[in-house]
């Protein structure tokens, strides 16, 4: 495994091809909502990957980033040392500029005991027409540690992307894993997410997915929280809007396996046009002192919300769009 320590941004290097690719990826990063100036600064921890090339990796004290290329992607390991409290997020930039290809990211994220850190990931495929992005992540949150993981995608206007994002998460005693996945700009294409969290005693897993599908986009979201330790808490929150002929399927699972475990699944899906939305919740309780709940609201927008916005002068289509944008935090 190669350690890329304190690599400066590519624009400061001599290779013009590399610099061009770096700048193109930063533009794509900005389209996905990322702040390119932060990456250029070289003062925050960051990993920048284009296809299977590591364009930059910047470590800071307390955070180690290792990355090495694979034939079709990159294998990366990020370790946050125990007790480290990061003021700035670790920036992760994954993307591909070409219209076709495969990018596989095998990631191993470890947050040591008592550490507190945020990861800000942006995945951008602005020109995709026949492209596949696979993320296979293992996440270990140590006892008493906190990891906020925010991942935003931008897939361009063509819908030619297949994204398969899997994460296996382990949260230690008293640890917290708070994640948000969003794909709300451009087309989705085909999206499969599969996040699976095992939570120890008094730990927290909070999983949020925000997706806006259109045309013939196909969305499949799997979220599972297994509350294995005493007093563990979990929330699987899904917000999806689909229009045109898009199809979304949401499978959420919450298991209350220990005394005092508290789990909740909260799914809201707005359906417009000929789109279809499904939600399949699974509730499993193995302790008579655990409590797991589920709520789902699927269908048209709430009439009262709609009428309230129309009473401010918005026509119906604009009001619906405003409600969806609010729900998806756009």
């Amino acid at each position: 495994m190669t350690t890329l320590d304190q690599l400066r941004p590519a624009v400061q290097r001599d290779d013009p091809a590399w610099a061009r690719e770096y700048e193109a990826l930063l533009r794509a990063y900005a389209q996905a909502g990322g702040p390119p100036d932060v990456l250029r600064s070289g003062r925050v921890a960051a990993l920048i990957v284009s296809a299977n090339r590591v364009l930059g990796a910047v470590t800071v004290p307390g955070v180690t980033i290792e990355a090495e290329p694979l034939p079709d992607g990159v294998q990366a390991r990020i370790v946050v040392a125990p007790g480290v409290r990061m003021d700035h997020p670790v920036h992760l930039c994954f993307g591909m500029i070409p219209a076709t290809g495969v990018q596989r990211i095998i990631a191993d994220y470890q947050v040591g005991e008592g550490a507190q850190v945020a990861f800000l990931a942006h995945c951008s495929f602005p020109n995709a027409r026949d492209l596949r992005h696979i993320m296979d992540a293992k996440v270990q949150v140590g006892a008493g540690a906190v990891l906020r993981y925010t991942e935003a995608h931008y897939h361009g206007p063509h819908g030619g992307v297949v994204v398969e994002a899997r994460a296996s998460i382990r949260v230690g005693a008293g640890g917290q894993y708070l994640s948000s996945f969003s794909l709300v700009h451009g087309r989705v294409g085909r999206l499969i997410t599969d996040y699976d969290a095992d939570v120890g005693a008094a730990g927290v897993a909070d999983l949020t997915s925000l997706v806006y599908g259109s045309a013939d986009d196909d969305i499949e979201v799997h979220e599972a929280v297994r509350l294995n330790g005493d007093g563990a808490r979990g929330l699987a929150r899904t917000r999806i809007a689909v229009r045109d002929r898009a199809h979304s399927r949401v499978f959420t699972t919450a298991e209350g396996n220990a005394p005092g475990a508290r789990g909740h699944m909260d799914c809201a899906e707005i359906v417009r046009g000929a789109a279809v939305a499904e939600n399949v919740p699974t509730v499993i309780v193995r302790s008579d002192e655990a409590h797991v709940t589920h709520e789902a609201a699927i269908g048209t927008v709430n009439r009262k919300e709609l009428e309230t916005l129309m009473a401010r002068g918005l026509d119906e289509d604009t009001a619906v769009d405003t409600i969806i944008r609010g729900m998806l935090c756009i």
Binding site: E305, M310, A311, G313, E316, T322, L328
Partner: protein, 252 residues
């Protein structure tokens, strides 16, 4: 002081839903710049009248006219009524999710300036710095949501604001804030149709009407209406049995 130009003219509106008459030949006029209180017990039809005036789904009159600013608005959708200067603050505000409060406030008047936005939040006794960027979500209390709803209406500078029980869900100490807000709206040129149960709220009105069993049964000064309301109004039949508006002394 309000002028005498009739802004809202409800002419004999009747609505029947599922075989039950919820509004019966309602006649009500609100003049430009007037604060007009609408009193009535639960189930008397006050909110139904508000929804009918605003054009909400399921509240289209079966008979009668609603004329606003000289135009029959019965066939207009809600947003077109709003663009004429009519709006409604619901008794129980909608539970929006995620929309930043500042964005919500400017929806009714996108050209609003920043100081007007701050003023709208000050008008409902909320600190702008703490709320403008905050999303509307479940962490807001019912009272906060109510204040934000009222701020949105205030910020819109409507010609007529229908406030459906703006004092409900807000503690008594804050009642003064709501009264002050209603007065500020009137001073800014908005007429206000103020739906309320509370004497203290009705007291700030220029005129008041009482609704009973889907009808307007009295329109007069706030003092007249408050006395009549206290002496003669009984809980609606749907709640406690067949007791309703009747001349003083008709029941024991």
């Amino acid at each position: 002081m309000p002028n005498t130009t009739v802004l809202l003219d409800v002419q004999g509106v009747t609505i029947v839903r599922a075989g039950r008459t919820i509004l019966r030949e309602v006649i009500l006029q609100v003049t430009a710049g007037e604060i007009h209180a609408l009193l009535g017990v639960n189930g008397s039809g006050k909110s139904s009248l508000a929804y009918a005036i605003m054009g909400c789904d399921g509240y289209r009159p079966d008979a009668g006219k609603i004329v606003f600013a000289g135009r029959d608005i019965v066939d207009l959708p809600i947003h077109e009524r709003a663009r004429l200067g009519l709006t409604l603050a619901w008794q129980e505000p909608a539970r929006f999710e995620g929309l930043p409060i500042g964005d919500y406030l400017v929806l009714g008047r996108p050209a609003m300036k920043r100081d007007e936005l701050w003023e709208a939040l000050h008008a409902v006794a909320l600190a702008p710095g703490a709320y403008l960027l905050r999303p509307i979500d479940r962490t807001l209390s019912g009272g906060e949501r109510k204040r934000i709803e009222l701020a949105a209406v205030y910020a819109m500078h409507p010609r007529l604001a229908i406030l459906d029980e703006p004092d409900s869900g807000i503690d008594v100490l804050s009642l003064v804030d709501v009264q002050r807000l209603v007065r500020r709206m009137a001073e800014a040129g908005s007429a206000v149709l103020l739906i309320t149960h509370r004497d203290e709220m009705a007291a700030i009105a220029d005129r008041a009407s009482i609704m009973c069993a889907g009808q307007i049964v009295l329109t007069g000064t706030p003092a007249e209406a408050r006395i009549a309301f206290a002496e003669r109004c009984r809980p609606h039949a749907a709640i406690t049995g067949p007791q309703w508006w009747a001349p003083t002394g008709a029941r024991g």
